[in-house]
Symmetry: C2
Subunit: 228 residues, 2 copies
């Protein structure tokens, strides 16, 4: 008996860009428009069937490259979805392994965009196909949790950055203001930052010290699965 289950890999991709009206940095995510049934015309997570010669994470990375033209700064498995009622018709049984990724949108200013690929503000999404709205909500929940106890926020920034820039990332993800003094103490106490010795000048104020992250510390602690 042939296995009747199709296995797909999709990826929730996050980048930080200014909100179209407020100009404040907010999370964006790229979606692709479905060009056939079911859910034709609706927006969906980028993804596709798992190739016979690629691992799960490799498939997620490929999807990301094809959709955005960017390289992920962080990539982690989110969840495997496989309930029976995921598709409207029971005809095609689909199990999806979902990854989530962080990219630096500045590199290509959101990269490829076309009629069928568009970036949306993560809190202002259109109607999504299948259970993708639930998946995106879960990915946002994971990101907002993880930014508080790991250094994944660094994935949105360049090689070196000021504490104000790092704090702006945290504030955009968590959607609340953070006290600069307390933020500084917390971050410095974690021992994850190394001062580069250089400063960022240009503002009409005291120059800000530049930092980089200690490369020997993982972006997130996934226990025995480090680097998988």
């Amino acid at each position: 008996m042939a296995d009747p289950v199709t296995l797909a890999v999709s990826t929730v991709i996050f980048a930080l860009r200014p909100h179209p009206t407020t100009r404040l940095p907010v999370l964006w995510t790229p979606l692709v428009r479905r060009i056939r049934a079911p859910h034709q015309g609706k927006w969906a997570l980028p993804g596709g069937p798992l190739g016979a010669d690629e691992g799960l994470a490799a498939a997620a990375g490929r999807t990301l490259r094809e959709t955005t033209g960017l390289t992920p700064r962080y990539l982690e498995q989110l969840y495997a979805f496989g309930s029976l009622d995921r598709a409207p018709s029971a005809a095609e049984r689909m199990v999806s392994v979902i990854y989530w990724a962080l990219v630096r949108a500045e590199e290509a200013d959101a990269g490829i965009e076309s009629v069928n690929v568009r970036w949306f503000v993560a809190d202002e999404l259109p109607e999504l196909a299948f259970d993708h709205a639930l998946i995106l909500e879960y990915a946002l929940w994971r990101l907002r949790n993880k930014v508080e106890y790991s250094r994944i926020a660094a994935a949105f920034l360049g090689e070196s950055f000021t504490l104000a820039e790092l704090r702006a990332v945290h504030e955009a993800v968590l959607q609340r203001r953070l006290d600069p003094a307390n933020f500084r103490r917390q971050i410095e106490a974690s021992g994850r930052l190394v001062p580069t010795g250089e400063f960022r000048t240009g503002g009409r104020h005291r120059p800000a010290r530049l930092f980089r992250h200690d490369e020997s510390i993982e972006l997130a602690d996934n226990g025995p699965l480090t680097g998988l």
Copy 2:
């Protein structure tokens, strides 16, 4: 082209039972002996191919029932493994969605056991098939993490219990002693326990107050995936 990927669901099952020599409560897990190649004769996680008419969690629950005869008190998805080098021969490409479960071993004193199903102390395992040693290590890591910030320890206990019994579960999972006074304060401050008004007598000491958990609080906070 038919999808060449086989999808299986396996489950890491944990129960608390006395260690065979020290008699102290420790984590046990049931394994099944492989009766054919590859890895014939080695021990492996209970599991099997995903049925066409069952969801992922349902398949994990079925595996658990077939292996132990028990009903899970807690069941959560662990991870989907799908790298290309999981099986020794590339002939069969396998993606496994792994769940982990907590059961009360006392109900049936470890339930079914046979030549090909045996319970092992989780820290004293034999050589395992495939990547199952890594998977078990990861499941233990998740359990030990989660017991510190959720109330999953309750899954090992009955309807009502004393604080000393709950503390014994934490100590067995975390493998270190906890101060009774501080443990009590922490648990009571969390507001998850409700005193039943009854007491456990019989020891040669002051009777212990019995508690039950507030049922309106989930065993673990999985965000938008609550109850999936």
